[in-house]
């Protein structure tokens, strides 16, 4: 696996095939890129209000649903006021 190990215990952003964006601390993963996120929150983007963060807690996401995993720069992320962000939500992937 191309280096998910370096993300363990770091806050990461997960993009799922259905377009969801989830941030959480990567607690673990396996061969199939199934991922365990602790203290996770879904970030819901919309054009008419700020980003809504929905707490999800401990999450186990199946690897085949994951489009992207990225390490979050926590300092940079905290500096962003999510309530000021307006953005189109990501559409689900198309087959």
């Amino acid at each position: 696996m191309a280096g998910l190990q370096s993300y363990v215990d770091h806050r990461v952003l997960l993009i799922l095939q259905d377009g969801r964006a989830i941030v959480g601390v990567m607690a673990g993963y396996d061969q199939k890129s199934n991922v365990v996120l602790s203290d996770s929150k879904e970030r819901v983007y919309s054009m008419d209000e700020g980003v809504e963060e929905i707490p999800l807690g401990l999450y186990l996401v199946k690897g085949d649903q994951i489009v992207l995993i990225g390490e979050l720069d926590e300092a940079a992320d905290k500096a962003v006021d999510l309530s000021t962000i307006r953005a189109e939500p990501l559409p689900p992937i198309r087959y």
Binding site: G28, N34, V36, S38, L56, L58, Y59, V61, Q65
Partner: protein
Amino acid sequence: MLPLSLLNAAQNKPMLVELKNGETFNGHLVNCDNFMNITLREVYQTSAEGDRFWKLKECYIRGSTIKYLRVPDALLDAVKEEQNRAREAGRSARGAHVSGAGARGRGQQPRGRGAVRGGQVRGARGRGRGM
């Protein structure tokens, strides 16, 4: 920590499972396997649109249809602690071999092997001379 060890530790715990088609299942985990096939008990099924509900006594969900599982927060600490305990147990068990029997064992083993090796060398020489 492996996702499957978390899932195994979630037995008899409540969880929410969302399928790839958006349907969700709330229930207590009865059993699971390495494919993430699971059986749930006392299940509330919700349609993808969230407008229809069903109650099921028990259901089996094929692992490949699952999008994600949501499990109780407390499980993370439980699994980590369990792993630490297992590690400690492993270490002390191995430690006992090394320090307890090891003091003798270690001293003896090389001598033992040495003797065997010596024997083989002598044996080889013997054979050599014999031929």
